[in-house]
Structures are given as structure tokens and as C-alpha cells.
Symmetry: D2
Subunit: 411 residues, 4 copies
Amino acid sequence: MAPVGGTPKPPKKGILERLDSGEIVIGDGGFVIALEKRGYVKAGPWTPEAAVEHPEAVRQLHREFLRAGSNVLQTFTFYASEDKLENRGNYVSDKISGQKVNEAACDIAQEVSQEGDALVAGGVSQTPSYLSCKDKAEVKAIFQKQLEVFVKKNVDFLIAEYFEHVEEASWAVEVLKESGKPVAVSLCIGPEGDMHGIPPGECAVQLVKAGASIVGVNCHFDPETCLKTVKLMKEGLQAAKLKAHLMSQPLAFHTPDCGKQGFIDLPEFPFGLEPRILTRWDVQKYAREAYNLGIRYIGGCCGFEPYHIRAIAEELAPERGFLPEASEKHGSWGSGLSMHTKPWVRARARKEYWENLLPASGRPYCPSMSKPDAWGVTKGAAELMQQKEATTEQQLKELFEKQKFKSSMVA
Amino acid sequence: MAPVGGTPKPPKKGILERLDSGEIVIGDGGFVIALEKRGYVKAGPWTPEAAVEHPEAVRQLHREFLRAGSNVLQTFTFYASEDKLENRGNYVSDKISGQKVNEAACDIAQEVSQEGDALVAGGVSQTPSYLSCKDKAEVKAIFQKQLEVFVKKNVDFLIAEYFEHVEEASWAVEVLKESGKPVAVSLCIGPEGDMHGIPPGECAVQLVKAGASIVGVNCHFDPETCLKTVKLMKEGLQAAKLKAHLMSQPLAFHTPDCGKQGFIDLPEFPFGLEPRILTRWDVQKYAREAYNLGIRYIGGCCGFEPYHIRAIAEELAPERGFLPEASEKHGSWGSGLSMHTKPWVRARARKEYWENLLPASGRPYCPSMSKPDAWGVTKGAAELMQQKEATTEQQLKELFEKQKFKSSMVA
Amino acid sequence: MAPVGGTPKPPKKGILERLDSGEIVIGDGGFVIALEKRGYVKAGPWTPEAAVEHPEAVRQLHREFLRAGSNVLQTFTFYASEDKLENRGNYVSDKISGQKVNEAACDIAQEVSQEGDALVAGGVSQTPSYLSCKDKAEVKAIFQKQLEVFVKKNVDFLIAEYFEHVEEASWAVEVLKESGKPVAVSLCIGPEGDMHGIPPGECAVQLVKAGASIVGVNCHFDPETCLKTVKLMKEGLQAAKLKAHLMSQPLAFHTPDCGKQGFIDLPEFPFGLEPRILTRWDVQKYAREAYNLGIRYIGGCCGFEPYHIRAIAEELAPERGFLPEASEKHGSWGSGLSMHTKPWVRARARKEYWENLLPASGRPYCPSMSKPDAWGVTKGAAELMQQKEATTEQQLKELFEKQKFKSSMVA
Amino acid sequence: MAPVGGTPKPPKKGILERLDSGEIVIGDGGFVIALEKRGYVKAGPWTPEAAVEHPEAVRQLHREFLRAGSNVLQTFTFYASEDKLENRGNYVSDKISGQKVNEAACDIAQEVSQEGDALVAGGVSQTPSYLSCKDKAEVKAIFQKQLEVFVKKNVDFLIAEYFEHVEEASWAVEVLKESGKPVAVSLCIGPEGDMHGIPPGECAVQLVKAGASIVGVNCHFDPETCLKTVKLMKEGLQAAKLKAHLMSQPLAFHTPDCGKQGFIDLPEFPFGLEPRILTRWDVQKYAREAYNLGIRYIGGCCGFEPYHIRAIAEELAPERGFLPEASEKHGSWGSGLSMHTKPWVRARARKEYWENLLPASGRPYCPSMSKPDAWGVTKGAAELMQQKEATTEQQLKELFEKQKFKSSMVA
């Protein structure tokens, strides 16, 4: 019998059901960067305690992505592992336990997901423990702890994302897979492969063998670079005769000048990236190319604001047959400008105009590309060992000196 | 007698009380651009019906500015005049009356203002009626209607902003002044003066004579250009031996290549402005220069996100003696990066680094400056006549043709 | 009686005869920069002893300008004053007297001028003596010495060029005027006026009153800026009801970012100016605008190579009715490309293509504009006092320190 | 017996003698581009009839390169084959036979070579006949004809340069080798290989097997790209256990945005390349890197002016033990500026300053990179078939249309 007050919503189609049937699934955008700009996340530690401290802010951002067309709401649990919440002087766990952060994030995502057709994905990401050479059991235990919350809250599926080393990502997939829920995994690597030099194709094969149903990349590089990497993953899987769905969640920043380690190395990271932000038209181009490459889980990462996600949904509206809710407030290809007061702005109300625009930076004293930092250290290097305590003044001084030295070598 | 349940808050100091005593008052940022990116405002008409349709989104943005340090919350009533809500096919009033929009906006701003030390300012802006050569009485009647709501809701003070013609701004000031509340006024003009060629100094004199206690500029130009204009206003007032407080609320976009009419004329307006967005360090520089120039009402306009407002508050923290709430999640001058995992990012945790950074655009195929449209029309020109009905296909076609012709002349 | 072997050439029309009849006179280009690149002039002192040391190189450059369309060959006597030949360790006069340099330069120019329809102009330029505050008589004596050679060699007319102070230029004009030959004079100033702040219009008036028949600007700024300055001169002369012909000989470098003192202050001067070099199409645009402004003596200065001069002659060929000799090797507006092997290069053989091209720098790590040095010193400042002896190591060190200090203030 | 009047000069060391003993050999620069700017070569056909028409101009340029440090003077015989002199309406041979051009070029180079320690190299380059699919015998006959002049004039050695297809280059080497003189060969290819897709390493092997003693690349790409290509050649030779000397003669233009076919494809070729011109400091960097890579024949191609060649000689002066003649007029690393009048220019008299300068373009409306034309046609394609007759208007129109179509696809 139907409950009083209305027809019950039909149960949502699962993530694999959608992808298997050829549907396009639109991911969401970048929470830590967006919430940093809104005043709720601290650049540096980048941890998600706002889920507990300011749930209304997290809720509002989820809602905006949903309106913009997202079919997946990732729980705001990026860097919500215990070892990250207590790293380098970021004493979050002293006030709020990791468990509480993860639970609050699940609650918020699930609440908002009821407002539309979106699934909730519980997410884990790379750990300081791995970088600091803790062993497999220790690292897995960290993921296990987050997974317990996701299982208890019964999220729809799981994502292991933002891994620089396929080895750690595989461990994460193995842990998540035990839940019986579908597992997606994305590395933050470029065409050169992971930080140990393992090529994208081989990474994809390892991850599928570890149990992932969806593989791809997120963060660290711009759409163009990410798509190159996913293409290599696709080829690797084909060569190994393995099947998996593909996903991409790139930066909303142009990074043609990145090295192997992505935008972290650019001198502008994280407080000077503004001139690199993608326009909505850049995103439409990305969405089309991702689709043409066979990717069906298409979203964004750092820098992706709600209007960027809407641009994916608008570009693929012909294939999907519908526009997202937020397109009520957006004319496709600038057509809303036909309502502008000034005639020369109304004259911009057309696709041809925006498609061909080469936007100026207004910064004639700035270059168009930068030389990335290239300190050449990765997992295991002494400089990457993490600590619970705050970085000391002395440690900082040594880094400043090293930075000056490296810069003068680049010039 | 104290009400049950707690000590009553002391009444807030009024805007003139603060400015007269030498306090710095921090304004808020740009609502229409921020809410457009969040999916709640339509580019083209730019009208604020979201106050009724999605109050939670407007409330959240107010709250973020408050946390970032704003001492003033402007009601989200930009372009909320009846003639604008019904312009060129934007049939908002058919669903929601202008009165309702203005009321809802007041309610939201007043609710959030209780969460901190902020005043609420009711705002009016330029009208299509003036551009279409309606007479003084008709234009004043439009402001009068909005004012009635502000008086009923008892906002703390009033702002007439975004006027291209000092004549219309003076009419607005005259109307608002009748309420007995303090009136601030800002023009969206550059150093060349208003659209009728009246120099900034003379504009300021007219506005103070009309009754404004605070005068300045907002929108249309970047901080550097706006400060030049306010400087000219200051000099004009000094020459006329008039006293007024100064305010500036510039764009958060670099616009060194603007013509007389500001960023509206740039080919990137409004969907390709990303590469021009100010960094927080650009804003700190602006805040310092505004302060040095004697401006004490310092805020932002289009493009200003909460973190930009926080940058004003952080730059002027030594003078004010405190940091805003949102600085809990921000280390001054990048110091939060000392908690970053990567050593070369920790090495960026210092003022000298960010102060000297020349951020790259990542767009080597784009120029650094653009040629603005310069159609050379203003109030009274046939092309600026407005209409209630949607722009027709034929009207658009004529504009596209004219645009092509103008572009080929610039090249 | 006619000489054996041929008809005597008719005597050439004088410079004023040409200009008075409305003819366009094309100047020549920049000797010191061109010969520096060819290996015959030393950057720093920039003195013209090559006229004696390597006459074949000077002769060849004169010949190239003549073929390109120059109607005037300036004697290569820039900085050929005795006090300049012996400045700061440039011990030229120890080997070659100033008189010899000036004589050799006259001989070469006169020899080449016989190969076409060109006049020879003897040239003087600003002196270290003036900068070092020597008195009027001393400075005039220096010009007098050069003039004696020009009179003896019987050049066609005289040019005083590259003066930053109108006072010194007026002294030069007074001296040259005594010869009875027509005198042209050009300042290396921008729209802000001379180094003492005298506006261009007033400068022009002073110079005409001192005896000049042709006034204008040369060097220090790009064509756009120079034309602005000449326009101000023209307006000054009109206001004073004075008549004179106008001349312009700008840089072949784009310098929109110059300060008051011109390209000398740009950090790229003199060894990094390459990205600023004008294309031939830039020069055609300049020639057209100069013509439209009423300038009839149109040439170039530093950076102008023979092909730049040819571009002036080609642009104004419709008005003049003929092309220069060197156009035998140049199809107008790229039409010669119709002979190229590759089809896509043949497709560039048209005006529309080259007129609209926005040429890329191929330097994505470089900015498009620079902050000029602005040490704010001019005639009379201790730092501008000259000396015969080489700059010492200690003096250089002090300058390096000062430069670092100034740079860090700009950043 | 010694001739009256002096000791006879000792015979010069041959090219292989020099290279075998480890000497650095400095090549010369780009004749066609330099002489185009001086007014003696026509862009489009780019043929060298100036050797006959204006020997003084060619002689002067040779002399300048010699003074700048060149140890090799290449005869000005680029594109001096009969089939090129009569291509697409360039009816040179109607007036001057190919033989005469080649003879005159040899005479001039040999005359100037007597003024210093330079060898004369006779040069051949790729032919329209090969592009138009003529057979091996026909193509070889063309080289044979030029070789006859070189043998008669007894040049010191031979260079086959500017070949896009290694097959044609090998034919040229085979022909030249018959003379018994040493043969150098350079392809105008990048790291992707020749126009048939043959990788640089394999190209080098084929050329050495065909008889070349010196192999490398010239033209089409900037120094950075050329050095990458030569590195691949070196590795190919090592893998094949073959020995040869390496040479590089890159462009003096920055071309990071080139496609496979080099700067010909850039929209700026050939009349808008100015912003890409290398500074002398760029050249010093190139010379050092070439030396470090083991290249010992180091020169330049299009865009290399005498001062660029001098920069090679100055950079490698420590290794060679001497400076070129033209350094009399150049202080190393800007030290001549210590003689400048202005103190802030004297402050630039040091290596650190110029080494770190990032020169601005002064063109804020231009991008830093361009999209190359990519019509994807090469030898054998109908569009590359050559003809003796001028390109018709109809042929040009078809190309213009195609260009517009291609451009709109890139945007």
C-alpha cells in the first residue's frame, strides 16, 4: 500500500545498471577547492571536517551540483582518514573523530540525493601512511575504518580516488570490494604513468584485476591531459581483454605546462590558479571529447564549480534527452544574452561566438606558461615522511632555501 | 526587562557612526555572478528572483560573505525594479511580483545579519526606463516602489549602485533620501566619467548635493581603475569643499584593456572572464591601496567571492585588530601550506612567494588583452531602447551582422 | 658643358622644395642597431667610427635603404661629437679624430646618394656635455665642430635628432641654422613631453622659433606613441599660428609599456628587444596613419631595417605613383607567395591574411609587457654626470645594487 | 718561391681534418631570410639570383658572417637548381642561367674566404622535381649539374641541406660523393622524422651509408627541437655502430608550437615571424647545449644574423681559446653597456641580468603560440605537383577557400 501523502519514489537504478545500459553518468565537481573559496576548508591540510562544523555549507554545494546535473554525490570524505586528520599539526581529531566526519558526510549526501536522481558514493583517497612507507596491513586498516561507516550508512557504491601510486589504489580497491558494493577507482596520474613509473594501461589492468568495475583518472591535470591518460588505460584494458567502464574527473584548470606530478607542482598551486580556470565552453569541449572516447562516467575535480557540471549536462543533452534543473537559469550557448540590455552583448548570443573566443587574461605582465617545481621525490623519500606534529620553523626554513636553489636552476 | 532566554544583543552601530569614527567597513561581494555560477541567476537578464525561488542559496551566500568579514549585507535586489523584471522577454513578474522579490531579499539579509556584526543595506540600481528616455517622474516612481519595501522592512541604510549616468543616480539618491536613512551611492564609471562625459569629480559633487553621505564606484572596472576614479571623486569633493565618505566595490577581474564603458564591452563578458579573475593576493593589494587613498567602505562587486572579501579583512586586520571568522580556515599569506604533504608546497608557505608570483594562464593560444566592443551608443540611442517583449530573431540577426562588421574594423 | 660619357643628371630637388610641393619624403632606418647586429657598432657607446673602420659596411646599408625607397640618407654621424667619442672609456678619438669620422660619413652618404634620388642630411644628436650641465657656449661649440664638416662637404640639409631636452635641441638648431641650409629637428620624446616636462606642442613652437623648418620625433617610442606626440606638436604649432613640416622616425619595436623615457628604460634594452620587432605590416599601418595625420617626412629609427622602409614606400605607392627598386624582390601584401612550393603557403598570398594576423611570440614563458626602469633621474642628476674614464668596477657594483633594490620595489 | 709582397698563407685545414682533431667548426647563418630583409631575395621563390644581380650585397653578408666567427662560407646556391629557378612563374633562367648563378656564388664565397680562416662549401638543396615525383635519374641529374660548377670552382667541401625526405637526400649525397670531396648532409626534419615518417636515427644511418661524413639537421625548427632531433640521429648511429660528425643549423626563431613540418606551417611564416626571433642569449644557450651533446659543426639557418653567429663564437670562446673579429664591437654578456650614458642601462652590464631576462613581446593582443597549418600533404600529393607556369588566379582562389575551411576546423 502506498504511504499516506504520495506515491513512493521508485528505487534508483544502480551505478552499474546505468553504465551497463549505456547511460551517461555525470559526476560532481571539486569540493575542497570550492569550499576553500567559500571559507570552510583550509588549504594545506584540505581536510573535510566542515561536514560536522558547517553542514549547511556542504549541503548547499551538494544541492548545487545536483541541480547542475550530477548523478553522483560523493560523500565529502576526501582526506577523511585518521592519519590525514592528524597530520603536520592539523589536530582535527582532537576535536572531531574521523568516524564522526565520515558519518556526517554520508548523512548530508544522502539527504540531498533525495532531492533528485543521484546516487551516493562513499569515497576514500590516498593516505600519508602510504607515503611514509607504512606496510600494506596498516594502510588497508585505514581504508577499512572508513568503509565501516559507508557500509553502516549503506551508500550506493564506492570510489577510491586521487591515488598517485597504483599499488596503494589496488589495496584500497581490495578493501572496498569486500563490501560487495560496486567499486570505482581513479588515479591522479598523467600519460607518463604513476609515481613509480607504471604506465596508465598497466595501472588500469591492475585495478580491474583488484576488483574495480569503473576505472579512470581524476584531479592533477586538465581535461586534455586526462583524456590522453584514460585513452591509454582503455588501450591497456583492450590489450589485456579486460572490461571496465571508464571515468574521468579532471581539473577545471588549464595545465599544459605540468610535469609528471600535475598541478601541485605548478608555482601557482593553490593560491594563484585563477587565470587557468576553465570556461563553460572549455568544459563543453571536454564533455564531447570524453564522450567520443567512450567514457560514460564524466565529471570533474578541483576547480569544477556547479556551472562547469551544468556545461557537461548541456553538451550531452542531445544524447541524454534532457537538460538539468539549473538550465532553467542558463540559455544554451549564451542564448540568454538575447535578454541583455546592451545591443552588443545581445550580439554575443550565439554558439559560433563563444566557441571561437580566445579569452584574454587581462594580465599583460604575466606569462602564459610556468615551469613546474620538479624536486623529483616520491614515496619513500625522506622529505615525504609525514608527522603528526606541526612542521617546525626550522623545517620550513630549510624548504625555503631549497626552493630558492631549485628556482635559480630553472631560470 | 531582558527577554527570556538570554541577554539581548546591543544595538548595532549605524553605518555613519562607524565611518565617522574612522572604522573600516567591509562590503560584500558580487551576488549575480556568484549565483549565476551556482545555478540560480540567469546571465542576460541578471534578475534576482532567486530570493523567492531558492532562498537557501541566497542565504548561504550572504552567510559566506558574513563569515568572510562583510560588515554590510546588501539585499539581493539588484535589477529588482518592475521595468527590469519584465524586460526583453524575461517575464518574471508574471510569476513573482517585484514587491515579493524585494521583500524576500530583505528577509533573508536580515536573518543572516543576526549571525554577526553586519548591517543590512537596501539597494536600487539603474533602470531600463532611464535608458529608454522615460522622464524623471517615471524613473523616480520606480525607485520609490522599491524604497517602500525597504522602509517597511526597516533596513539599516540604503545604497544606490551601478549607475552609468550621474543624472539617474542623483534622482535615485533624492528618492532614497526621503526615507531619512543614510544613503550611499556608487557609479559604475571609470576615470573618463559617466556616459554623458561628466568627470568623476563633478559626479561626486552632484551626488553629495543630492543627499548622499557616502560616494564612490562599483562594478565595471578592476580595482586599479576604480581607485583612480575614486581618487578623482575625492579631489572633486575637496575642490568643492564638500565632505563625504568614500567607497569602492570594484570587479574581481583584471580589465586594463577596458574602454570607457567597462567590462561589459570586453569580448569575454560574461562567459569568458575566467582568466581575468583576481587572486586573493591581488585583492590584498587593492585593499591596502584603497585604505591608503582614504577609502573606508571597501568591498567588491562582480567576481568577488567570499575568499576575496576575506582577503580584504586579512589585509586590514592590523588596522582593525581582528580577523574574520572564515580565517579559521585560512593561514595568512599561505601559511596554512606548512601543513601540506608535499615539501615543495610547504616551501610556498610565505608572503614573499605569493606577493611576487606572476601567475600563468595556461592558455598559450590566447592573448593577454582584448579590444573592447565600442559601438558608441548610450542613453537615447535607438539601439538602447528597451522593450517588454523578447528580442526577435530578426533583431538578433541584425545585431550579429553589425558585430561582424565592427570586429572586422578593429582587426 | 656636359662631361664626357653621358648626360649630366638634373640637380636634385631640395628637401623644402619637395615638402612644399606636397611630396612624400621617405627617411631612412636605424643605423646603430642594424650595424650592431652586423658586427660594426658597439652597444653601449653606440659611436659611428665604422664609417672610417669599415666603410664598405656603412655603404652597403645606405645602399639598401636607398633601394628600399629612402629619399634621405643621413650621414652616419650619430653620437659623432668629440665628447661622446671619448666618454666612459670609449677611447675612439685616441685612434680616429671626430673630424675624420664625420668626413668619412659624409663621403659615403654622398657616394651612395648618386645611385638614386636621395638627398644627404648631415646629422647631430644630443651630447654628454649637456647632460653633465656644461653651459650653452660649450654645448654649442660641439655642434659647431660637426657643422663645419657638413658645410665643407656641402650636404643637402641638416638634421638635429635624438634630443631628450628641447633646450639642447634649440641650441643645436640655432647652430645649424647659421649655415643657411634647411634644418630639421626631432626630439626623442613621448606625449608627456621632454625630460624637463615641457609638452610636445610647446617644444615644437620653441624649435620652429629657433629656426627649424621641419619638426617631429624620432626614436624612443613605437609608431603609435610617436604619432600621438607629433599630433600634439601639430596642434601646438596650429595654436601658435606657426608653420612647419612634420616628420616622424619611430622605433621598429612595439613599446606600449614604456614610461616617459622610452625604450631605454625597458628591461629588454638593448639585447632582448627581438620579440618587439615590427612586422612589415605593422609598418604599413604606421605609414598610412602618419600620412593621414599630415606628416610628409616619414621614416624610421632604431630597429628599422631596409624591408621596413620598403613597407613605407609600398604603402604609399598609390599616392606617390611608383614603387621602390627593392620591390622587384617583394610582392605587395605577400603576393610573392603565389610562387611558393607548398599550397598552404600560397594560400597566404593576400592582404586580408596578413592584415589580420596576430603573430605569436613562440615564448609562452615570457610576458607580453614589462615594467620599465624608472630611476627618475635626468639632466643634472649626479648619476648622469659623464666622465671620459671607463666606469669603474666599484661604480658598477653600486648600480647593480640599486637595480636590485628598484626591481624588488616594482614586483 | 714566395710571391713578391709577403709570405704565402699556409693552406687551410680541411673540414674533416678540423673535426677529426676535435675542433669546433662554426657554420654561417641564413642567407635567404637576411637578404630578403635587405631587399635582394624574393619571399616565395626564395631563389639566389642576387649572386649575379647584386654581388656586393651577397659579398657583404658573407663578410659579416666571417667577421662574426663562421669557419664555413656556404655558397649562396640554395634553390639554385634549374627546376627551382623556373618554378611557378619565377622565370629567372630566362635572364640568368643556373650555371651562372652557381658560378657567381662560388666566386663571391671564395673571394671573401680569403679574408679569414674559412672554408667554402658548395651547397645543394631539395628540388621541386622530387616533390613532383620525377624519377631518381632525373633528380640526380639536377644535383649533378650543380656539382659540376663546384668541382670546376674547386670548393673545399660539399653540403646537401634542407631535405624533407631522406630518400632525396641520399640521392644527393651519392651524387656529391662522386667528386671525392667530403660531404655533409642535413635534413630539415624534427624528432618525428622525415615526411615519409622515417625516424631521425634511421635517416642518419641511411645518409652515412650513402657516403656522408657529417650529418645533422638544418632549418624548420628552433634550436631546442633541432637538438632533440640530432640526439636521436646520434643514438641511431651509435646503435648501428656507424661514425659520423654531427652538425646543427637551426632556425633563429622560437617554434615550440610547430607540427611535424616545421615553421613553414606556422601562420606567421614568412612575414610575421619577428616576435619569435632568438636573442643572442638564446643562441648562447643553444651553442652550449649543442656542444654538450657532442655536436662540433654548429651554425644556424633562417633568422640567424651575424650577431647570432657571433654569440656561438662567444659562448664557445673558452673552449676555442679566441674570440671572433666582430667581438671587438661587443662586450661579452652585455659588458659593453658599462659605457652607456644612463646609469640604469649600465646596471644591465652583467651575465646574470641577461641570462634571466624573460623578454616581453610588447604585443598584448597577440598570443604566445599558434596552431600550425596541417594540410597533411607531402611528396606525391596532387597539391604538391609543381609547374613552370605562374599559379593562376583560379588555383589561388581554391587555396584561399581551403585555408578558410581548415582554419575554421582548428578554432
